[in-house]
Subunit: 123 residues, 2 copies
DNA sequence: TTTCTCCTCAACCAAGTGGTTGACAACGGG
DNA sequence: CCCGTTGTCAACCACTTGGTTGAGGAGAAA
């Protein structure tokens, strides 16, 4: 597992249990015990999951006596969203260009200027 | 690794090499060899990466003689985006409510969360 | 103080991952 | 037809991962 943050975030969310915990934390902060309750695994295992989410920057923990309340750091989601949107859009534009070319080949559409359709967008 | 699609997609993108390949494929389809070229690993390793992307539904392969051109299936991104946005928004709403409560307790009139610069840049 | 609760650390284990090399199937060009 | 190109499959290896159990620290509670 590469050690850059984006990789860690994706890897952290690749586990359904951890996604579930994130869903739980989106509702409100929770202690380790509260997070562990719904699952049929040891508290230690849940503690490990939290550590993974923590390392990814998705969750932070504070102190309250013996308890360690977990808090969702939702800003990290933007990191993923940005990456995803970038390439989704890029691919989408490519399909759109292809559509335009196909339409042009069929004479479906008025060609604004023949052969001027490629590589137009400036990032 | 759980076998549901969302898990597979996240896991597939948890590897920088595979994210790189997705970036490459967003520009246009490519053969396995073309995808392997920039990297200092064997073609077999790249073939394995492609298989992972394939199993996640992110990439499809067709036939062209001996070649197996890879094609990016960008719709799968929506699966992730939906999941992410759901909990990001949920968490955001919670912070907003907290802001409101805090403001009310202080008798304040400008509710602003301390560590909460701005919300959705890319939605 | 002693005890109980909440949680983490350490060691261990089975299974999975990302890489390697070697073999080989499929196909086009001589 | 044989040969080079392209890519996958199979076996293997080091390392990681998600789980376990046991030990123990930090605080409240008795």
């Amino acid at each position: 597992m590469a050690d850059d943050q984006l990789s860690r975030v994706f890897a952290a969310l690749a586990d359904p249990t951890r996604r579930d915990m994130v869903a739980r934390l989106a509702v409100g902060d929770a202690t380790v015990g509260e997070l562990a309750d719904p699952y049929d695994v040891s508290v230690q295992a849940v503690s490990k999951h939290i550590r993974v989410l923590n390392d990814a920057g998705l969750v932070s923990q504070s102190r309250d006596a013996q308890r360690r309340p977990c808090h969702l750091e939702a800003e990290v989601f933007d990191l993923m969203t940005k990456w995803i949107e970038r390439y989704r859009q890029q691919a989408q534009e490519r399909y759109d260009r292809l559509d335009a070319v196909l339409a042009e080949m069929r004479g479906d559409e008025q060609p604004t200027h023949p052969g001027n359709r490629e590589q137009g967008a400036a990032s």
